[in-house]
């Protein structure tokens, strides 16, 4: 059983109230959350210190303009935040951040992490063409009924890890019929409880793993299976890979937005593969032709070997792909399989070691010949 803060306000309001309380009481010096910008519908992650700016905060807006895990890593790469900061992020963003912290690309110190049982986010495209505002009522309707929200990112619809693993505070959304006038905020950790100490509201006991959550997980599992069957990558082979990644324009946008791809000197962006003419000539002699720019497939498989083990399936890579390649589904499927080899779930626990940094002396004898 977990301590729960219960208020008679809508979820949106209650979360904003919580942020306001934290900032006003001086318990935190900054708030990291989604915020409406300029009133033209644009929403972006922002770090806020003034109470005035908090008015435009939309902490639960169903959009992920960037993976907050990557953003938090940017903020804490050179050292932890000096004063306490509260960050409202999605479960997959939190998992990505934990993965980055494991790689020494960020610090959890002085961060109060607030997350929610996540109903998914809409593709970025919808925010750009303004469709997202029309969809909001549908989004909250489906969330209340505990159903998969249609038109969200494919990987969101097939995500089973919508319950945040390492959040200090969790807001429940999925399957909560009365989120318009009631809000339950779970205080998972002692840290979380200390921070909300003194806030208005009723404290009760509750269980995060509710019936609605279990039922949603089953629905998502089915959807994930359907998604994986549909993409059918095990039948790809060389031909399928060429067909799928042939559309790639080589912008490497997928690696730029990927929270796990953190190397600032990427092998694929380097000049390593810019050969002397003689190398191209040798290749041409044999093949009779060469794709320009070359190496799209080695880039994608290479990225799979690098990030597959920690892929949280946030779906940003497919979202930003100008050629509409379903990268996120491919990565999620391969990542899932690689993670299962080690019984590893990225972002489950900051103490859990990344499998490629450790080993057992008696394993995988089947790959030796």
């Amino acid at each position: 059983m977990t301590k729960v803060l219960k208020t008679n306000k809508s979820v949106e309001e209650a979360v904003k109230e919580l942020l306001k309380f934290l900032l006003k009481s001086g318990k935190v010096k900054g708030v990291f959350t989604l915020r409406k910008i300029n009133g033209n519908g644009a929403v972006a992650y922002s770090l806020i210190t003034s109470l005035d700016m908090l008015k435009d905060a939309v902490p639960l807006f169903p959009l992920m303009p960037a993976n907050a895990g990557k953003l938090l890593s940017n903020l804490t790469l050179r050292g932890s935040v000096v004063d306490p900061v509260v960050a409202v992020v999605r479960p997959c963003e939190l998992r990505a951040f934990i993965e980055l912290v494991k790689r020494k690309q960020g610090s959890l110190e002085n961060l109060l992490l607030v997350s929610s049982t996540c109903a998914g986010v809409y593709p970025l495209e919808m925010a750009v063409n303004g469709d997202i505002d029309k969809k909001l009522s549908q989004y909250w309707d489906a969330t209340k009924r505990g159903e998969i929200v249609p038109d969200t990112r494919p990987t969101c619809m097939g995500c089973e890890h919508f319950l945040p693993y390492t959040a200090d505070i969790t807001v429940t959304l999925i399957g909560k019929k009365d989120i318009d006038n009631q809000c339950e905020i779970f205080l998972n950790t002692e840290k979380g409880q200390q921070f909300v100490d003194g806030i208005d509201g009723e404290f009760v006991e509750g269980k995060l793993e509710s019936e609605e959550v279990v039922s949603m997980r089953n629905k998502r599992k089915d959807e994930k299976k359907r998604l994986f069957d549909e993409i059918g990558i095990e039948k790809f082979g060389l031909k399928g890979l060429i067909e799928t990644f042939g559309k790639c324009i080589g912008c490497h946008g997928c690696s730029k937005v990927c929270p796990i791809c953190y190397c600032n000197l990427c092998y694929s962006d380097s000049k390593t593969y810019e050969h002397k003419p003689s190398v191209y000539e040798m290749q041409l002699k044999r093949r009779g032709g060469l794709r320009v720019p070359p190496d799209t497939i080695s880039y994608q498989i290479g990225r799979l070997t690098h990030v597959g083990i920690s892929c949280v399936g946030c779906g940003l890579c497919a979202d930003v792909c100008p050629a509409n390649i379903p990268i996120s589904t491919i990565f999620l499927k391969v990542g899932d399989s690689v993670q299962k080899m080690f019984d590893y779930l990225p972002g489950r626990d900051v103490e859990e070691q990344i499998p490629v940094t450790t080993f057992e002396t008696d394993e995988f004898v089947e790959v030796e010949d």
């Binding site: 990558i233 082979g237 060389l238 794709r291 498989i301 391969v334 080993f359 002396t361 790959v367 030796e368």
Partner: protein, 141 residues
Amino acid sequence: MNEKFAPKIVGFLCNWCSYAGADLAGVSRLQMPPSLRTIRVMCSSRVNPLFIIRVFLIGADGVLVAGCHPGDCHYQKGNYQARRKFAILKNIFENLGLESDRLRLSWISAGEGPGFAKVITEFTEKIKKLGPNPAKEEVFL
């Protein structure tokens, strides 16, 4: 099957064991197919999965990664890490429907000249059965 097909295998051999094993096989004048193109690395864990993907896509018919036996690594634990990386890569190959049989990981010590010859002979035979790597002639990689 094309009888004239002579496989080309790229082998990443670790400096301390497998490379010396290859050397011993050579000075012992052991017979084996001339299919191996050797790349010496300081440790089998130096082999970035990207190297393997790269040579596979360029058109190597087989890729061999060879290192010291488990427990014998010159750097204590390199080969264990190499094995993990190799297992992950093999899993990815299988997931994408690529021929993971063209990849091989073997432990060959400096004293195993005949062992080295055996690995090369076996692997070459296996590749002969699989035929040439289709990536060799693909244009749109």
